[in-house]
């Protein structure tokens, strides 16, 4: 149990009616690893996580979490895994303390009171502990949920968009906490839409339309697509973006505020196109490292178009 993977699932599939939400996904998360789970809305992240912690029956595939079978050993998985739902799922009509206390009781924690006190202190909510959870702001609810799912010292955390709506300072604290836990050997699978968070993960998986499109460290994911990229700085970039889109060698243009990222597989062809494009204008062309975000946008546009929820 102490060796091997924290999560090891093979060929997981799940369909809802005719819709295939998760299509043959295999993932391995090593112990102590922070694993980022990325993909656009509706790509199947939540569904995959729910299958991992025994909340949904997979239609196909098998796997283990912390060495426990995800179908047969659900009770054990629930005991040792902390799952944070995407939507706030604590009791809004209970106070912060009552919520945490209830969770502690569910896990039969021996030192319940201390654990709850500690969690409330950790949140910095000592003087608001008697407030109803429903009265908290969105970001604070998120932080309460996180504290609650870590209350029983789980060996594996499954966090579904834990930082959605959380302010930057709290996000930074949160990620420092994750790295601290990871150093203690706790494994984390975290889904997110933030690129800066993705960069902070040891490993990444990107899924789209239920299919795993890329995985590995962020550098590996970037390298796997073999894109080279340039950044263009200057005025009227949005017009330029339109103009460049059909040029030879250009496979993708993405506008980032003050810079236009242009990427393509054929480095030389792309460079020639861009040099001529910027030549007669007051634009600055700069070779850059392809970012994770460029790669994800590229991956999304390359695979079969999203067929929506109705299909």
């Amino acid at each position: 149990m102490s060796d091997g993977y924290a999560i090891d699932v093979r060929n997981l599939s799940k369909r809802f009616g005719p819709k295939i939400a998760v299509d043959n996904i295999s993932l391995q998360v090593a112990r102590g690893e922070i694993f980022g789970f990325l993909g656009p809305n509706g790509s199947g992240k939540t569904t995959t996580i729910r299958m991992m912690c025994g909340l949904l029956n997979p239609d196909g595939g098998s796997g283990t979490c912390l060495g426990y079978d995800i179908i047969r050993d659900r009770e054990l998985i629930k005991r040792h895994v902390g799952y944070m739902t995407q939507k706030f799922s604590f009791w809004e009509d209970l106070t912060i303390r009552e919520n945490l206390d209830f969770v502690a009781r569910m896990y039969d924690m021996p030192n319940r009171r201390e654990a709850v006190d500690e969690a409330i202190q950790g949140l910095g909510l000592t003087d608001r502990a008697v407030q109803l959870a429903g009265a908290l702001s969105g970001g604070w609810k998120q932080r309460l949920a996180l504290a609650a799912c870590m209350l029983h010292n789980p060996q594996l955390l499954l966090l579904d968009e834990p930082t959605a709506g959380v302010d930057p300072a709290a996000r930074r604290d949160f990620w420092e906490e994750l790295h601290r836990l990871s150093a203690l050997g706790i494994s984390v699978l975290v889904s997110t839409h933030y690129m800066d968070e993705a960069e902070r993960c040891h490993k990444l998986a990107y899924i789209f339309n239920g299919k795993l499109l890329a995985h590995g460290s962020s550098r590996e994911v970037v390298a796997s697509q073999g894109l080279s990229s340039w950044a263009i700085h200057g005025e009227n970039l949005s017009g330029l973006s339109e103009a460049l889109r059909d040029q030879p060698g250009v496979e993708q243009t993405v506008l980032f505020g003050t810079a236009l990222h242009v990427s393509g597989k054929d480095q030389e062809l792309l460079e020639r196109t861009l040099q001529t494009a910027v030549a007669d204008r007051s634009l600055r062309l700069e070779k850059m490292d392809t970012t994770l975000e460029d790669v994800f946008i590229y991956l999304m546009s390359r695979s079969t178009p999203m067929d929506g929820d109705a299909s």
């Binding site: 729910r50 912690c53 025994g54 909340l55 949904l56 029956n57 009770e75 629930k78 005991r79 799952y83 739902t85 939507k87 706030f88 799922s89 604590f90 009791w91 809004e92 969770v103 569910m106 896990y107």
Partner: protein, 381 residues
């Protein structure tokens, strides 16, 4: 008033109407209710409900068999108010049949009845009636006077014609048991206990579980190491307490406010109530497994509640309902509870008199509990 309509946009207003219809069309259960409730109500009120209840089960205790007693019995059948279901050996058997609600009437023909008629002594027939529900017996008792007359017309002819003249050849003495003054309240108030408990218990448990699902807290609960049986029973217990509290309030009101006589045992009353509350809680849990949100749970409760109220003998005498309505009624826990509660309140029934209505409640609870456990979703599928 004018200001209220200032800037009223017909197209905006129309969009709201359209949106409402669109949402209604998608909400199948509401749609079913719009169509279903009137139909159910109409059928039940129109066909099942009978304010002139006929074919009331009647037993005969006969110490005398003759042409005349046969005519008496035939005349009772003819009136359509009485359905003779058999003979009983003695007074005691008759009382117990009445106590258990197996019969509505017992006709007692005393020994030497025929002889006394022929001697012109005007003997009496004793008709004992279970008057718990006055409406169940009123019409039948009204029809009884016809019986003696029909006997004169048929059997007291020829040489016996002198007996038929003038006064009736015998009298029918009616003995109203359990509610001798025929006070409707005595029947309604204990009956209300079951009606109120049905509504409250089914609705509250139904909501308790769908609420978790609707708010998303179910996912959290399922992700924690708590067993379904713990969740289910843990959710039930508070409602058992609430049910018993409500029963106590109703009981106190019945005794102190409405002055309903109480002939039975308080302990039996609470035992029966506990069983009935359990039966309804299992129904609530089952509905909550089927309903996707709180509104649906409420609608399903209404669907369950209507036949319970109309076909259980609460509103209308059970024995007076048509056969199919009685069949439906026999599946409803309130039917049995109504008999139990009236039996305890008015008849002072003991355990063995109650037993015929206790075991169906137990079976019901077990069966529905099995269904509830089967349907309880351990995952989010």
């Amino acid at each position: 008033m004018m200001r209220l309509f200032l800037g009223f946009s017909v197209s905006r207003w129309w969009s709201i109407i359209l949106k409402e219809f669109l949402q209604l069309r998608r909400d199948r259960l509401t749609f079913a209710m719009i169509i279903g409730i009137p139909i159910v109500q109409l059928t039940l009120f129109g066909y099942a409900i009978n304010n002139d209840p006929k074919h009331m089960p009647t037993a005969i205790i006969s110490a005398d068999h003759s042409e005349i007693t046969r005519t008496v019995i035939a005349a009772m059948k003819m009136s359509e108010y009485f359905e003779i279901i058999g003979e009983l050996p003695d007074e005691e058997a008759g009382r117990s049949a009445l106590a258990q609600g197996r019969v509505q009437f017992v006709l007692n023909i005393p020994p030497g009845f025929t002889r006394n008629v022929l001697r012109g002594e005007r003997p009496a027939l004793l008709l004992e009636a279970d008057a718990t529900d006055p409406t169940a017996t009123a019409m039948a008792l009204g029809a009884v006077t016809q019986i003696a007359r029909s006997v004169s017309a048929k059997d007291l002819t020829g040489p016996l014609a002198h007996l038929a003249g003038g006064r009736d050849p015998f009298e029918v003495r009616v003995h109203r048991l359990y509610n001798p003054e025929g006070i409707t309240r005595y029947n309604i108030v204990p009956g209300l206990m079951g009606v109120i408990l049905t509504l409250m218990m089914v609705l509250m448990t139904g909501l308790a579980i769908t609420r978790e699902r609707e708010r998303g807290t179910m996912e959290n609960l399922l992700a924690m190491p708590v067993k379904p049986i713990e969740v289910m029973t843990g959710k039930i217990v508070p409602y058992i307490a609430i049910g018993l509290t409500q029963a106590t309030i109703i009981l106190l009101a019945a005794l102190l406010l409405f002055r309903i006589p109480f002939a039975g045992s308080i302990i039996m009353l609470y035992c029966a109530t506990l069983l009935f509350v359990a039966a309804n809680l299992t129904v609530g849990i089952t509905l909550s497994s089927l309903a996707r949100n709180q509104l649906q749970a409420m609608q399903m409760t209404m669907f369950y509640f209507l036949p319970n109220m109309l076909l259980s003998g609460f509103m209308f005498p059970f024995q007076g309902m048509p056969q199919w309505a009685q069949c439906v009624g026999n599946l409803l826990p309130l039917t049995y509870f109504n008999r139990l509660i009236r039996g305890i309140f008015l008849k002072g029934n003991g355990f063995w008199d109650l037993w015929p209505n206790l075991w169906p409640l137990m079976i019901f609870t077990l069966v529905v509990m099995t269904i509830a456990i089967r349907f309880y979703r351990k995952t989010l599928d």
